[in-house]
């Protein structure tokens, strides 16, 4: 497996920041009431991860080891500010909907975790790819969690797609069922915890299934041979 393939598998599945490392749970649980909120925050986080990983990797040889953490935090804060201003300019309504959770990306442990664990030790290309894949894994979980909660809570999918993608996306909204009394549990934070638990359980179940499959395949390859050596029992 090449380094890049390994990074993709690690970021999206094996070492997924949200499902396996359980990092950045605060924004994960707080903003995923709808798919679009989740996607918006996911993209913002990915951009910050990409930027911070590249920068940290570039400066990794100049940063004194003793003060690396404050420097990483400042780099991350700079990128968060850039993303925040960009969102304020181009997707203002989404910016308002996500509120405090955009500046809070600074405190997302997944980002400083990648800077510390990977970007500060590897080449720029690899660090950038790692940031992209980790961000993608995080975004995927945010979107799936948002879809679960939006479907259970409001009975819709992709409400407010126009906030992120522009006016043409208004028609993207899918109404699965209409209800006068939304299922508030799914929309409130406890529902996020429940859905998150279910997602992690589902991932573990899939992992176990895959493991069983591969074991069975291995066993099938081993040829059973009964060898009789001695006859004088």
């Amino acid at each position: 497996m090449s380094e890049y393939q390994d990074l993709s598998v690690q970021g999206i599945w094996k070492n997924n920041p949200a499902l396996v490392q359980l990092l950045g749970l605060c924004p994960l649980l707080a903003v995923t009431a709808t798919v679009i909120n989740g996607l918006g925050l996911g993209i913002a986080t990915t951009l910050v991860l990409l930027g911070s990983n590249i920068t940290v990797s570039l400066v990794r040889n100049f940063v004194p080891n003793e003060i690396r953490i404050p420097i990483f935090v400042m780099i991350i804060a700079a990128f968060v500010t850039i993303v925040q201003l960009l969102m304020n300019a181009f997707t203002f309504e989404l910016y308002q909907a996500l509120g405090i959770f955009i500046p809070l990306i600074v405190t997302n442990c997944a980002i400083i975790g990648r800077a510390e664990a990977y970007a500060s030790k590897n080449r720029v290309q690899l660090a950038a790819f790692d940031g992209l894949m980790m961000g993608l894994g995080f975004t995927l979980v945010l979107v799936v969690l948002g879809a679960m909660r939006e479907l259970l809570g409001y009975g819709t999918l992709l409400v407010g797609a126009d906030l992120l993608l522009g006016d043409w996306a208004k028609d993207l909204t899918i109404v699965v069922f209409t209800t006068e009394s939304p299922f508030l549990l799914a929309i409130l934070p406890p529902g996020a915890f429940l859905c998150m638990g279910l997602l992690i359980a589902f991932k573990n179940m899939l992992d176990r299934l895959i493991e069983k499959r591969s074991q069975r395949a291995k066993q099938a390859k081993i040829v059973q041979r009964a060898r009789v050596t001695g006859t004088d029992i």
């Binding site: 009394s181 299922f183 508030l184 549990l185 409130l188």
Partner: protein, 357 residues
């Protein structure tokens, strides 16, 4: 076939198996349910049927998925009891999907995801109730006035019709059924007093409302009495111990008496608290759940007493008029701690105090 397995609580060291115990508790709710039918109409019966069916289907499907002995588990009646307790806790004319979602959540998430009977940390019925209460506040607070003071009466057919379509066969909505003879929308006695207190009235002024008969809500007193009867039957047959209900009612009564003596205008009397709302049902049927309650005698007294305190605290200063479900869930969380500190001395070992001397 005999099955020897190491199991978590409930442990019962007598001839009854779990199924028999659970069934006895189900039977003991019958007087209360009958009283409820008499005073509030047939809705509760339909809720019970819906809940039991949902519980059995959910439990059966999950048992099949987990590849366990479905029949053996279904026959222990624990799912039926949880469903029954949830059904008697919700408003009698709540829409059908409310009880179905609630029972599914109770059985699938609260009970089976934790590993099934004996492994659930929280009381399934109450966790389901709280889930419904925060998810569907409107449906979950649509309590009916007793039939004697309701403007519209409703028959069994009306109850079925309302639960499934939202309207009686003659076209009245639940909102209209909630209207009393005085033309105002009725609430529960606890809700009425809470609202009145918030508006600056005293407890005595609140109790001058048509729904009250002296200290107690019309109908509610008799329902509570009927559940008390069932609860005493359970203690008599040793299905439950006196510890939890006794300490729970005593602590609730003591705290409410203290507050009542402090300021009788702001805090209702102990008798009001005991026989309105679901304190009696909670004490005898819900808090005594053998799985999620404390398992030591001393622990049970602490468990019950703490629930009683929480109930009075939440009723007086919380956002919701009644509090059994919240109180029970809070104390469910404390059960491991309580059990840890109340381990009885094992036979032949010295107590800590005698060891030191």
């Amino acid at each position: 076939m005999t099955m020897l397995s190491l199991s978590s609580s409930p442990h019962h060291h007598n001839r009854r198996d779990i199924g028999q115990v659970m069934r006895l508790v189900c039977y003991a709710t019958i007087p209360g349910i009958l009283a409820n039918v008499w005073f509030f109409g047939f809705g509760i019966l339909i809720q019970v049927v819906l809940a039991v069916i949902t519980a059995l289907v959910t439990e059966g499907v999950i048992m099949e998925l987990r590849k366990k002995k479905t029949e053996r588990v279904l026959k222990d009646y624990s799912a039926v009891l949880a469903a029954l307790l949830l059904a008697i806790s919700i408003p009698p004319l709540a829409p059908w999907w409310v009880i179905v979602i609630g029972t599914f959540f109770s059985i699938a998430v609260v009970k089976q995801l934790y590993g099934g009977l004996g492994y659930n940390m929280f009381n399934p019925a109450m966790a389901g109730y709280v889930m419904l209460l925060i998810s569907f506040p409107m449906q979950m607070t649509s309590w009916l006035p007793p039939l004697s003071i309701a403007e519209q009466s409703h028959s069994l057919w009306d109850a079925i019709h309302t639960i499934f379509t939202g309207f009686t066969s003659t076209g009245f909505s639940v909102e209209q059924l909630k209207v009393g003879v005085d033309g105002t929308t009725m609430a529960t006695p606890l809700d009425e007093v809470k609202t009145a207190l918030l508006q600056g009235y005293t407890v005595t002024e609140a109790k001058s409302h048509i729904m009250f008969d002296g200290n107690y809500g019309k109908g509610w007193l008799w329902v509570a009495m009927a559940y008390l009867l069932g609860g005493l039957f359970l203690i008599k047959t040793k299905v439950i111990n006196w510890h939890i209900p006794g300490s729970m009612l005593a602590s609730a009564a003591l705290l409410s008496l203290f507050l009542f003596l402090l300021d009788g205008d702001q805090y209702a009397s102990p008798l009001f608290h005991l026989f309105n709302g679901s304190l009696i049902v909670g004490a005898f049927f819900i808090a005594t759940d053998p799985v999620s309650a404390s398992t030591t005698s001393k622990g049970r007294i602490i468990f019950g007493a703490a629930i009683g305190l929480w109930v009075i605290i939440i009723r007086n200063w919380g956002g919701y008029p009644d509090a059994i479900a919240f109180a029970v869930l809070i104390m469910n969380m404390a059960v491991p701690l309580i059990d840890y500190y109340t381990q009885p001395r094992t036979y032949g070992h010295k107590t800590k105090a005698s060891k030191d001397s």
